[in-house]
Amino acid sequence: MTAFPAALLPLPVAIPLVICAAMLATAHFLPGRLPDILATLAALSVAVLCGAIAVHAADGPLVYWFGGWEPRDGVHLGIGFSVDEASGWVAAFIGLLYALTFVFAWGFFDRTHGHFHILMLLFLAAMVGFCFTRDMFNLFVWFEVMSVAAFALTAYHLAESSLAGAINFTVVNSLAGFLMLGGIGLIYAQTGTLDFEGIAAAVAQGGRDPVVAGAFCLVASALMIKGAIVPFQFWLADAHAVAPSPVSVIFSGAMVSLGLFGLAKVSAVVFGGSDQVRHALPALLIGLGSFTALLGGWMALLQRHLKRMLAFSTISHAGIMLTGLGALSVNGTGGMLVYVVGHGLVKGALFMIAGILLATQASIDEIALRGLGRGIWPAGIAMGLAGLLLCGLPLGVLDQGTRLVQGALAQQGHGIALAAGAIGAALTGAAVLRAAGRIFLGLGPDPGDEAGAPSEDEREKANRPLWLMLAPCCVLLALDVGVPAGLIEHALPRAASAFLHRPAVETLAEGPGWLPWISVVAALAGAGYGLFRRRLPALVVRPVSATQSAPTRALEVLHSGLIGDYVAWLGVGVAVVAGVLALA
């Protein structure tokens, strides 16, 4: 294998930045479809470059120091990119997701002088930088660039609800940025460096240190806010529900899981040497993750606003990813990395279907859409398949990730987390399948007058042909189903060990084969219950609906849409993380 020039490492970040700057400068002269074409090509080139980098990083991480400021005598002054195989593939996946989203959004935003594409390319560059960097402060910068692009994209429609959602999103995520910066300041004061390796070495030498634990508490809280872990999850449902659907694809498919990806990197690579952090992590991550998986799934089942439903299902799956991370093993983290990709593919496809419904049927409300999807049945097939994949149909990348996460949890005897993950996946699958059955098959009772949606009327442009919107969605699903399992099985043990900086393992354990089937059956049963409740005998329905009402109301009240409540919960969450770390 020829040596890959490490000087190419900044290119996947530089290409989108340069194109977005050029587009901004010439925005008013660019003819109609040129921004679409340029943006798609830029995203594709990022995907291809990151893939090439990942292939060459198989033998060991590629390192690039900006300006040639290599570390001398153990002193890290420069800022570097360091790409291991797993980070490279995650970045390649993100590039591909962007390319398909640009195709999906073809002509979506008229008369905007390409501002949508400019913001999206900035967003893409920040995500790739976030994956590649090996410097704490650089990580923060990409985190903030990502946030600012996301804030602006959420409010893109400038409608009342999207503005309110964007404000909540902005305030909560800005606080995350402040927490992270505080944590970075603390760790720098303690270790005298910002480089991942430098900090790791200093942390491993020092013993139990409250400053290191405090720094980790702040950084981890910030990344968990990005990753929408309970009790930091409130912003997500608001932001994803009101953002334009192409933006929601990126939010759910890449941004949220990238928060957890960052947490994985920081906790394993940077703070992995601290015993205190290592002891606190399993209880913290698995506890919060299980709770998140259940709460997200339950809330998803209660929604009738399709995008909000998908947003809660993202919360649930973020919880499952966190449990995989909490196993603190190569197996669990490897599973989580595969899960990130698989979940991004499936959830991206689902948000595209929501966008298709919004564009062609001018509604996003499950009840109001009942039976209206018959004319666009191919989208229905895609939605059914995506729902089944979401709840764990043993097929494709998402399922492989699920089984690896379950294998890691089963190995360590975390029965509750295992059950919580399976139930959470089943609940989200049930919600999606119920919606698919109602919209595309016209199942369920006729709503009559209660068809009013809880949100204001939304509309997205209906000027695109169905096939153009459906094609990227089908490509995503085909990728999830079609990527050969053997390929991942072969590369993952090596890639995950390199990601965690641990000695390589031979094989990874998988969870029990019957568990995904239980999720699928439970999801089908849940969807059936939601659709045919009125036809079931009263004996079955009464106890279920009685247990449903009180906690349901409480949960709805908690997700109030009030920024004040969210910030109070944020304080509680940081206190919980700090408490668990203090007790460890």
């Binding site: 402060f137 305030v171 970075i184």
Partner: protein, 135 residues
């Protein structure tokens, strides 16, 4: 090293959070967010400060003179840029929200209305194409 900067930073962050949690006006809320951010300035400058040393500019000092940590000051500078961006963006959002909702009260401006109360009677859905612009 004195405890004072850390205490001030913690207090600023806490009082800012309290302000955001209880705010009934978005402009006030943006101000409170600024208070939270000042906590990070104080923390970072406190961490980088060394008693009896000069600013890290060696124009009229011989190299090797004890100076405060320039890295922290670079972090604070970046933080200030981030803060300016966020404040500007939030204020733009607030103005747009006021134009459309006619209120600055977070209680009256929620992304999703509670289930049961139909939102169709409230406010027109003006997505004015002419006014539409990015960021």
């Amino acid at each position: 090293m004195s405890v004072l900067p850390y205490a001030v930073a913690a207090w600023l962050f806490g009082i800012g959070l309290y302000g955001i949690a209880t705010s009934r006006n978005f402009i006030h809320l943006v101000g409170c967010l600024g208070v939270c951010q000042s906590a990070t300035y104080v923390l970072l400058l406190g961490l980088g400060y060394r008693w009896g040393s000069i600013a890290p500019i060696f124009y009229d000092h011989p190299p090797g003179t004890p100076a405060v940590d320039p890295v922290m000051q670079a972090l604070v500078l970046t933080d200030i840029v981030v803060g300016a961006t966020l404040t500007a963006l939030l204020l733009v959002l607030t103005i747009q929200a006021y134009k459309r909702g006619g209120s600055l009260d977070p209680e009256k401006l929620r992304p999703m209305r509670a289930v049961g109360q139909s939102g169709r009677d409230r406010g027109s859905n003006r997505v004015g194409d002419g006014e539409r612009k990015a960021s």
